[in-house]
Amino acid sequence: MQTTNPRAWLSLSWIVSLFLVVPIIALLLQSFGSDTDLFVHLWNTVLTDYVINTVQLVFLVLLFSTIFALPSAWLIAMCDFKWRQQFQWLLMLPLAMPAYVIAYIYTDLLDFSGPVQRSLRSVFQANTAMGEYWFFEIRNVYGAALMLALVLYPYLYLIARTSFLEQGASLFQVSRTLGLSPWQSFKKVSLPLCRPAIVVGLIFIGAEALGDFATVHYFAVNTLTTAVYDSWLGHGSLSAAAKISMFMLLSVVGLLAIERWQRGRQRFYQKSTAKMTKFKLNKRQSLAAVAWCLMLIMAGFIVPVMILVDYAINYFAVGWQDVLWQVLLQSVWLALVAAVITTIIAVLFVYTTRLSARPSAHVPLKISMMSYIIPSTVLAIGVLISMTLFETSVNEWLVSLGYQPPGLFLSGTIFALIFAFVVRFQAVANGVIESSFLNISPSLDMASKTLGKSNVQTLFSIHMPLMKKGLFTAVLLVFIECMKELPAALLLRPFNFDTLATYVYQFVSDEHLEHAAVAAILIVLAGLIPVIRLTQTGKSPQ
C-alpha cells in the first residue's frame, strides 16, 4: 500500500476523464469522415449564409453584453450612488431568465397586435394597417442578439465587477499621482488589468450564444445551430451535424488561442487589499447611474416576470395541468441524478490533485474544466455520435455471436441526457469543489495520515464533513443548470419525454407560451437560487 503514490486515485481519475472526453473525440472522428451528400448540399446552398448569420449573432451578443455589463460593473465597483448596494445583486437577476422566454415575451409585446404598437396607434389616432408605418422589427439577428445579451450580460458583469474590486486602489492611485486623469487611469490601468477576466466572460457568453438554438429558431434567424438541428432532426445525418459542430468548436478554441497568444508573456495577477474610495457621483450622475441599472433590470427581468405572472393568472386553468407535475418531477429527478454524479466526479478529480503533486494528476481536472466552453448543441451531437458508435459496435458484435441485437439501448434514453449534463456541467462542480478543498489546510491531511488513516478514511472523516456546504452548493448549482439546459435536452431527450425546459420551449415554438407560463415561472424560480447564492458570496464585507 502506498500513500505517497496514490496510483489508484490517479488511474480512476484518468479513466473517468477519458469517458468525459469521449463525445469530443467521437465528434472529431466523425467529422473527418467522408463528406456526405447532405453536407455538400448544405455547403453549396445555405451554409455560407448561416456562417455569416452566426458570426453576426455572436459578435452582436458580445457587443451588447459588453455595453450592458462593463459600465454597470464599473459603476458598482468604483462609484457611490443611491441603491448601489441593492443594484449590485439586482443586476444579476436576468441570469435566471431563459432567452427564448424573453424572446417570446418581447415579440408579443412589440408585435403589430401587441400592446406597445396598439397604444402607439391609439395615441396617434392612427387606424393604419400593418406595414403602413415604420416600427422596428425585433425578429431578426439584432433582436436575437439583444435578447441573448439581456440574459447573458450578468456573467460578464459579475466577473468584471469582481476583477475591478480585486485590483484594489493602489495601482489606480499610483496612476493618478503620475498625472493621469480618472478616465485615462481607467483606460490605461484598470481596464487592461481586467482583460483576462473580461475575455473569460466573453468567451463563455460567446459559447452560449453560439450554442443557442431556441432563441434564433424562434426569430427565424438561421445559424449554424439551425444547420446542426436540421441535419440531425430533419435529415438524420449525424455526419453533417458533426462537421458543422466541429467547425463551431474549432472557432471557440481558435478564439481562446488567439487571446492566449496575444496576451503573450504579460501577467495580470494583482491582489490588493487597499480599499478604493469610491467616486461620489453628483445628483445628475447618480440619477443617470440609477436609470441605467434600472433599465437593464427592468428589461432583463422585471418586465418579463410581470408578463409571465400575468399570463399565468389569465391562463391558470390551462397552465396548471397534471402533465406539468409529471414534467416537473422527472426534470427534478434527472437534474438531481446528474448533479450528484457530477459532484462525485469533481471530488474524485480534485482529491486526486491533492494526493499527488505530479502534473499528470491535474490533467483530468483541467480536461473536464474545458467542457464549459463547448456549446451545448455541439456537445449533444458528440454524445449522440459516441453512443451510436458504441451501440453499432455492440450490436454488430452480438450479431456476430449469433445473439439478437439489442438496438439503441443508450441513445434516446435518459442515460444519454444525464451523460451530456454531467460532461457539460463538470466545470461548475469542479470549481466549487476545488475552492472548498483549498479552504482545508493540507496539514490536516498529513495529520490524519500520520495518525494511521488511509486516503479514503481521511476523505470521509475529514474532508467531507468540512466541505458539506461546498458539496451542497456544487449539487445545487449543477442541478439548476440541468433544469435550465435546453439545446442538449432537445437533441437527446427520449421520445415523449420532456424536461421543464423542453416543455416550455414547445409552447414557445407553438406560439402559446401563455399556456406554459407556470412552467416558465418555475424555471425562473429555479434559476434565481444560484443568483441568490452568488449575491451572498459576492457581498462586500462591510
Binding site: T4, A447, T450, S454
Partner: protein, 351 residues
Amino acid sequence: MNEFPEIALSVDELSVFYGDNKVLEQLSLKVLANEILCLLGQSGSGKTTVLKAVAGLLPLQYGTISIGEEIISSVDTVLAADKRGIGIIFQDYALFPHMTVLENICYGIKEPKQQAELSAKSLLELVKMAGYDGSYPHELSGGQQQRIAIARALAIEPKILLLDEPFSNVDHNLRQQLMADIRQILKARNVAAIFVTHNKAEAFAFADKLAFMEGGKIVQTGTAEFLYLHPCSAALAESMGQGNWLDVQVLDQRRIMSNILGEILSTKQHGFEKGQKCRQFIRFNQLAISGDDTGSAKVIDSVFNGENYLCTLTINKTILVVNLALAQKISVGDTVSVTVLPHAAILFDGQ
C-alpha cells in the same frame, strides 16, 4: 548495557527532487533514542522536506530511511504514512476544526471508544489541558491548540515525533513555558524527536543536538555550544549569532593579522596555512572598547537593544559593531580603542 546508544531513526543519503529541482541531496542523519534533534536552517534549505520524507508524505529519489533496523523508505518501497507510527506536529497545529478536543485526540487511537477516551483524557492531563474535552479548536489559544496537537500525536504512541516550526505561531511570552513542558513530556515518554526551526533561540532551548542545513544538505551537526564556537560555514556562523567580517592574513597557527585590529590571538589552533588570506568572523561580544583619546576607532552610532548597547565604530573607514555593557558610558563621537577578547578564531577561506 549496550555499549552503543540505540539509534531511533537513521536517514542515509536521502535525495528528494521536486521536478528538476533538487531539494535534498545525499542527506544523512541519525537520531538516537530519546534524543531531540533540531534541524536548523534558513527557509528554503529543505528542513520541512526532510520531515515530510521521514513521515512518508513524499516520495524519495535516492537513499533510505529506517526506524531502528526496519527500512521504511527507499526508492522501491515506501511504507505508507498511516503505517509508520510517526507523529507529526505542524506549524498551524492542523487540528480537525469539526471535531472536539477529545475527538481530535481519539482520532488515531485504535481502541474501543471508552478506552480511547480514557487514554485521551490522561493525555490531556499530561499536556496540562484537562477539562477541555468538549472544546472546539477555534475556542482555544495558539499555545493551547499546540498542546492538543502534541497530545493527539502522542496518542498513537509514536517512536518518533516530528515537529515543524511548532512554536512560531505561539505568543512569545508563552513560548518558553510551552517548550519546557513539551521537552519534559518527550523525555518522560522516551520519544525521539526531530524539530525544525529557523529560530536559534528555540533550537538552543529545545534540542539536545543541532544539525544545520544549507542548500539541501546538513553541513554540521553537534551541540548548540559547539556549533556556536566552531561553525564550519559562514551561513552557520551568522545564524548562530551576529558578528563582524574582517579580512585577515594568517601569521601562524595561533596568530592572525588584521590591518584594522592588528595582531589577533586565537585560543585554539585554527588549521590554516601561514600567509593565507582569510575572512575572520568576530562576534559582537568578542570585542571590547574603552574610552581612549589616542584610540584608532570612533563611535558613530549606539543603539540600546534591551540588554546592552550595540555600538557602531569606524576604524580606517571600516565599520565594526561591538557589544557594550549598560554600565559602560560611551557616547557617539567618542574616540575609543578596540580589544579582541580571547576566543577560538573563526576563519574561512578567501577574501
